[in-house]
């Protein structure tokens, strides 16, 4: 395809979906906006370089979200040398200045702190399964692991989030999805 066409499509796509990608990246990065911005920029560059694949995807946005998750996992692998685990026990993960229940802003801060206390892969599982609503098989494919691993990571992550928020005055209602 002509370069002008590719560029025009890329700009249109970016204009339409950058905010969506930034929100997903913000969750993956547990609210570190500079890191999230880096992820989105890297992802958009990769998409441009493989634009023909983006065009052929059933859902270009879904393709972009998958790419974003891959970029995040790759970077986490570099930083953590491929092995990570839950970083803190819920009882130790209390915010230094516990917030009270009530406002969305407080819940946002508690939720970001809870996400940051998960390892990158567990956080990715939570985002893919419960934010992007992907099924277990698709999540496993994106993370290059078995469906059993997704289920177990998801269960551990939800247990951790539930316990973490339980130390505040917020309470998560979680469906028992695998």
């Amino acid at each position: 395809m002509r370069d002008d066409d590719r560029s025009a499509e890329f700009v249109d796509f970016t204009h339409a979906h950058r905010r969506d990608l930034m929100r997903t990246a913000a969750l993956l990065c547990a609210g570190e906006e500079a890191h999230a911005e880096d992820l989105v920029q890297t992802t958009l560059t990769k998409l441009y370089l493989a634009w023909s694949r983006v065009r052929r995807a059933d859902s270009p946005l879904a393709y972009a979200r998958r790419s974003l998750t891959h970029v995040f996992i790759d970077e986490a692998r570099r930083a953590h040398r491929r092995r990570e685990s839950t970083m803190a026990e819920p009882a130790e993960a209390l915010p230094s200045d516990p917030v009270s229940a009530g406002t969305d802003l407080e819940l946002r801060e508690v939720m970001l702190a809870a996400l940051s206390s998960l390892g990158p892969r567990q956080r990715a599982v939570v985002v893919l399964r419960h934010w992007l609503d992907l099924d277990v098989a698709e999540t496993a494919r994106i993370l290059d692991c078995s469906t059993g691993t997704v289920k177990s990571q998801n269960a551990r992550a939800l247990t951790h989030l539930r316990a973490y928020l339980g130390t505040t005055e917020h309470h998560l209602i979680l469906e028992d999805t695998p």
């Binding site: 547990a30 906006e33 911005e37 370089l49 891959h70 009530g102 819940l107 946002r108 209602i173």
Partner: protein, 247 residues
């Protein structure tokens, strides 16, 4: 106690205070990256002219002109058009990675084949990082962007199975990388060898399979989490190849 559903809580956490930047900035970054990649391809293409010995494993792997991670070799006559399609399987690269029949050592990993124009950037008991020599990637050995990474893991291989010379390999790929994994063979430490190849750098499925099959895992190799890392080191693959007798 206030109750919230997870989706709503994630929605709040996903909110950012940033306004969306101008897409033109993203386009400018992407175009810069494409220019850098094109320069890299030209360099690979020129270096391939000097290759005299090209070998295959089970089949000829002399390939030029295809940068897709999948599909058969492309006709090299299709490679001269700089504006060729970048669709998967379409030959828009200026050249492909050439494997020569020369062993090199990245202890505890050894290789029967050497990719021309690529150098070992980091090595330890857990794996090896091999980078193109054209300066297109970071010098930091723990930065895997655009590099070939060999990992030794306990996690089972997965993906599309491919049999080569009686050995099974599994291929997966997404987001700019193709990963080929296989179990180690008898006499090697038990585990899965996983090689992650960056797309659009001249590796074809045939060359990736051939190079993966040429990896030998030595006794010092360790699976992450089961021991401490030995010192890292660097060497030039071409220099290592030149210093060793041909197999």
């Amino acid at each position: 106690m206030t109750e919230h559903d997870l989706k709503r809580a994630l929605g709040l956490a996903a909110s950012t205070g940033r306004s969306a930047p101008d897409p033109a900035d993203d386009l400018a970054r992407a175009r810069t990256a494409r220019t850098a990649r094109s320069r890299q391809r030209v360099r690979v293409g020129l270096s391939s002219l000097a290759v005299v010995a090209v070998v295959g494993v089970g089949a000829t792997v002399a390939v030029t002109g295809q940068d897709s991670p999948a599909g058969p070799s492309a006709d090299s006559s299709d490679t001269s058009s700089p504006g060729a399609s970048d669709a998967p399987g379409a030959p828009d690269a200026q050249g492909g990675v050439q494997l020569v029949a020369a062993k090199f050592d990245a202890t505890p990993y050894t290789f029967d084949l050497t990719p021309q124009g690529w150098s070992v950037q980091g090595q330890n008991a857990f794996g090896v990082t091999i980078a193109p020599e054209d300066g297109s990637v970071s010098d930091h050995r723990d930065d895997f962007e655009g590099k070939l990474v060999i990992m030794f893991e306990a996690r089972p291989p997965g993906g599309r199975p491919v049999d080569l010379d009686g050995r099974r390999f599994w291929i997966t790929g997404d987001s700019g990388y193709t990963t080929i994994s296989t179990w180690t063979v008898a006499g090697e430490p038990h585990g899965a060898v996983r090689l992650q190849y960056p797309d659009d750098t001249g590796w074809t499925e045939e060359t990736m399979l051939a190079f993966t099959a040429s990896v030998h895992v030595g006794d010092g190799a360790q699976i992450p989490g089961r021991g401490g890392p030995p010192p890292a080191g660097m060497q030039s693959l071409d220099r290592a190849a030149a210093e060793r007798p041909r197999s």
